[in-house]
C-alpha cells in the first residue's frame, strides 16, 4: 500500500472539483414472471470527495439495486436500465465500454457488502484473497502481495496481522471479517466506497469499531462514501448528508443535522417517529401504517399516498418532484429537497 504522500500525489495528478459521483434520473427495472418490477424510479444523488452520503429507506426501497447499478454488477437480464446517467468524475459510466467500466470497478469505486462471510471465499486464506487484488490489478509478485496484505490487515486494525495472514475466513469473528472486507475495498485506494449495510449483521460494540474505522480511513484517504443502511443511529453518527428512499425514488435529501431536526417529508417523519424514545417508555410506539408498495404496481401519484397521514386528492393524481425546501421567508435551505406537495406543512409539524 502506498503512503499517504503517494495517495496525495495521485489526488493531485487527477484533480476533480465537481461531484465525484453524480447519479441522475436513474431507473432500474426487473423483468419478472409477473411483470416488470420498477425497483428504481428516478434516483438523483451525488457525492463529493471526502463526503459521506447516507442512503436511508426501508427494506425493498431500492437502495441496494441503485448501488449495484452504480457498480455495474446488476445481472442484465433480468435487470435493465431504461433511463438515467451515472457520472463518475463527470463521465457517464452507462455509456462507457465494458473494459473501461471494469477498470473503474474495484480500482476507483469499491463496494463493501453486507454479508462478509459469504463475500469471502471460505477455502482461500484471507491473506491470499487480499493479495490477489494487487496481483490482479498491479501485477505484484507473490511475496509483495503478501506483504501488502499484511500491511492492509494492520491498517484495518487486525491484531497480529503477520501471524493471521494465512488464516481462513471462518477463523475470524464477524467484526474482523467485516474489517477484512473493508481492507479489500481499500486495497486499491479507490476514490469512492459504497458500503451496503456494512454493520447490520454486527452488534453495537463491533459496529462502533467498524464505523469508526471506516470514518477514519475515509478522512485519511479523502474518499467519498455512500453508506446504505436503515439504522438511523448509525447515520446520525457518521453521515454528512442523507438521501431517503421510498419505492425507488429519493423522497428527501438533507444535511444530517437538518433532517433529524426538521424532516420535510411525511415518510421521513414517520421513520424518525418510529424510533423508541426515552419519554415513550410504556407507551405505544409510532408506526407507519400499511405496507411498502408492490413494485409491480406502484400506486399512481405519490407512491407514499396510501400510507401518508397527509395525503390529499392531488397526491393520488400527480407525482411530486423533488422540490427545493426553503424557510418561510423564502431563504432556501442548503441541500434540502422533498418530494412532497406539502413539504412546507410537514416542515412545520414539529
Amino acid at each position: 500500500m502506498s503512503t499517504a504522500a503517494e495517495a496525495a500525489g495521485r489526488e493531485r495528478e487527477a484533480p476533480y472539483e465537481g461531484p465525484l459521483l453524480d447519479v441522475r434520473d436513474l431507473h432500474v427495472e426487473f423483468v419478472t414472471r409477473d411483470g416488470v418490477a420498477r425497483a428504481v424510479n428516478g434516483v438523483d444523488y451525488s457525492v463529493r470527495a471526502g463526503e459521506t452520503l447516507a442512503v436511508l429507506g426501508e427494506s425493498g426501497s431500492g437502495k441496494s439495486v441503485t448501488a449495484q447499478a452504480i457498480m455495474g454488477i446488476l445481472d442484465t437480464p433480468p435487470a435493465r436500465i431504461p433511463r438515467g446517467e451515472i457520472r463518475f468524475r463527470g463521465r457517464d459510466m452507462l455509456k462507457m465500454g465494458k473494459d473501461e467500466r471494469r477498470r473503474i470497478r474495484g480500482r476507483r469505486i469499491a463496494m463493501i457488502f453486507q454479508d462478509a462471510l459469504s463475500a469471502l471465499n471460505p477455502v482461500l486464506s484471507v491473506g491470499f484473497q487480499l493479495g490477489e487484488m494487487f496481483r490482479a490489478h498491479q501485477g505484484a509478485s507473490r511475496a509483495e502481495a503478501r506483504a501488502k496484505a499484511v500491511e492492509l490487515m494492520d491498517r484495518v486494525r487486525i491484531p497480529a496481522a503477520k501471524q493471521r495472514v494465512n488464516d481462513y475466513p471462518h477463523q475470524f469473528s464477524g467484526g474482523m471479517r467485516q474489517r477484512i472486507m473493508i481492507a479489500m475495498a481499500l486495497a486499491l485506494e479507490p476514490d469512492l466506497i459504497i458500503a451496503d449495510e456494512p454493520t447490520t449483521a454486527l452488534d453495537v460494540t463491533v459496529q462502533a469499531q467498524v464505523m469508526d474505522l471506516l470514518a477514519e480511513l475515509q478522512a485519511e484517504y479523502h474518499m467519498g462514501l455512500i453508506l446504505i443502511t436503515h439504522d438511523l443511529g448509525v447515520v446520525a453518527d457518521v453521515a454528512d448528508k442523507i438521501a431517503v428512499m421510498y419505492a425507488g425514488r429519493i423522497v428527501e435529501t438533507a444535511p444530517v443535522h437538518d433532517l433529524y431536526a426538521r424532516p420535510a417529508h411525511p415518510y421521513t417523519r414517520g421513520l424518525l417517529d418510529s424510533i423508541p424514545r426515552l419519554d415513550q417508555k410504556g407507551q405505544e410506539l409510532y408506526a407507519i401504517k400499511g405496507l411498502p408498495p408492490n413494485l409491480l404496481r406502484i400506486p399512481p401519484g405519490c407512491a407514499f399516498n396510501p400510507r401518508c397521514p397527509r395525503a390529499q386528492a392531488v397526491c393520488r393524481g400527480e407525482v411530486p418532484e423533488l422540490y427545493p425546501v426553503a424557510e418561510d421567508d423564502g431563504r432556501p435551505l442548503e441541500g434540502r429537497g422533498s418530494a412532497c406537495f406539502f413539504w412546507k406543512e410537514t416542515l412545520h409539524d414539529r
Binding site: 401504517k289 408492490n294 400506486p299 399516498n305 395525503a311
Partner: protein, 332 residues
C-alpha cells in the same frame, strides 16, 4: 385490536365493512388498515393444505397435463397391450416380413412401424414392450425412493451413530457401479424375470436417493421452523413428515425422475448384454439391443423402441418437474 396509530387529521377513514387488510385494487397496493372494522367471516373459504394446493396448481400446468396423459397412455399400454394392436409381437414371419419398411398407411396395424430382423411387427413389440420397461422403471423408482428416502431421512434426522452407520453402508453400495453390480446380482438368479431385474436395480439404486435425501434433510433440519415445531412440542413423526419431508423432497423428486429413465436404460443394457430379461419377455431394451445388428440397413428397427423409451423418460421427467414446482408455493 384498538386503533394503534395516531392518525393525522388527513387520514381518510376506511369504509365500514371493509376488511382490515384490503388490496386497494386500483392503487395496486396492499394497505393494512389497522382500524377495527367489521370483518366478513361469512366469506369462509375451505381450509387448504400444501398437497391440496399443489394438486389444484398441477391441474393448471400444461406440462403436467401433457406428461400425465402420456404416462396414462403408457400405463394402459403396459396393462392392456392387446387393446392397441391385433398383431402378435412374437409372430415371426421371415418369409414375408423380413425387415419390411414402415408402412404409414397401416395405421395401428402390424406393419405400421415395419418389421424387424426376425420378421416381427415392430409396432406390436413397442406396445408389448411397454409392460416390461415401465414395470422396471416405475417399480425400481418407487422402491428406491421409499427405501432410499426413508434411510436418508433417518440418517439425516437422527444423525450421530445412526447416521454414521447408514452413511458407511451407503458409501459401500455407492462404490458399486449400477451396471456391474446388477450383472453380478442377476447372475445369481436362475430364471430372470422382470421382478428379478427390479430387485437387482432396487438393491443397488437406493443409495443415490438416500444420499440426496440425507443431504436435504440435514439442511432442512437446521431451519428455525423445525426448531419452532419442536418448541411447540411436536413429535418425531410430525417433524419428519410435516416439516422436513415437504421441504426436502424437491431434489429427491428431480433425482428420482431422472433416475427412472436411467433404470429403463440399464434394463435395456443388461438385456443387450444378455444378462437382463430373456427373449420370451418383450422389452424395449431387448429390441434396442437386437436392432444394433441391422442398424445400417434398417435404422427404423432401432428408432421405434428407442423413441418409445425416450418419450417415456421425458414424460416422467416432465411430471417430476411439474410436481416439484407445484410443491413450491413460491412458484405458484
Amino acid at each position: 385490536m384498538p386503533d394503534i396509530h395516531d392518525e393525522g387529521p388527513y387520514e381518510p377513514r376506511p369504509k365500514p365493512g371493509v376488511s382490515r387488510l384490503d388490496y386497494a385494487g386500483e392503487q395496486g397496493m396492499a394497505v393494512e388498515q389497522e382500524t377495527l372494522v367489521e370483518r366478513d367471516v361469512e366469506k369462509r373459504e375451505e381450509a387448504r393444505s400444501l398437497w391440496g394446493d399443489a394438486w389444484r396448481d398441477l391441474r393448471r400446468r400444461p406440462i403436467f397435463l401433457v406428461s400425465a396423459v402420456l404416462i396414462l397412455l403408457l400405463v394402459v399400454m403396459a396393462v392392456l397391450p392387446w387393446a392397441f394392436t391385433d398383431a402378435d409381437p412374437r409372430r415371426a414371419d421371415l418369409v414375408h416380413d423380413y425387415l419390411r419398411r414402415p408402412d404409414w398407411g397401416d395405421f395401428f396395424g402390424a406393419g405400421w412401424f415395419g418389421y424387424d430382423a426376425q420378421g416381427r411387427s415392430i409396432f406390436a413389440r413397442v406396445v408389448y414392450g411397454a409392460r416390461a420397461s415401465i414395470t422396471v422403471g416405475v417399480f425400481v423408482t418407487a422402491a428406491v425412493t421409499v427405501l432410499g428416502g426413508l434411510t436418508g431421512m433417518v440418517a439425516g434426522y437422527f444423525g450421530g451413530a445412526v447416521d454414521a452407520v447408514i452413511s458407511r453402508i451407503i458409501d459401500i453400495f455407492f462404490g458399486i457401479p449400477l451396471l456391474l453390480g446388477s450383472l453380478v446380482l442377476l447372475n445369481a438368479f436362475s430364471t430372470r424375470t422382470v421382478w428379478s431385474v427390479v430387485i437387482a436395480l432396487g438393491v443397488l439404486g437406493w443409495t443415490q436417493i438416500a444420499r440426496v435425501m440425507r443431504g436435504a434433510v440435514l439442511t432442512v433440519k437446521q431451519s428455525d421452523y423445525v426448531v419452532a415445531g419442536r418448541a411447540l412440542g411436536a413429535g418425531t413423526g410430525r417433524l419428519m413428515f410435516r416439516h422436513i419431508l415437504p421441504n426436502a423432497i424437491a431434489p429427491v423428486i428431480v433425482v428420482a425422475t431422472i433416475a427412472l429413465g436411467g433404470y429403463i436404460a440399464t434394463e435395456a443394457t443388461l438385456s443387450f448384454l444378455g444378462i437382463g430379461l430373456q427373449d420370451p419377455t418383450i422389452s424395449w431394451g431387448i429390441d434396442i439391443s437386437s436392432a444394433q445388428k441391422v442398424i445400417r440397413t434398417a435404422p427404423y428397427v432401432l428408432f421405434f423402441p428407442a423413441a418409445a423409451l425416450s418419450v417415456t423418460v421425458l414424460a416422467f421427467i416432465m411430471l417430476g418437474d411439474a410436481v416439484r414446482d407445484a410443491l413450491d408455493p413460491k412458484l405458484r
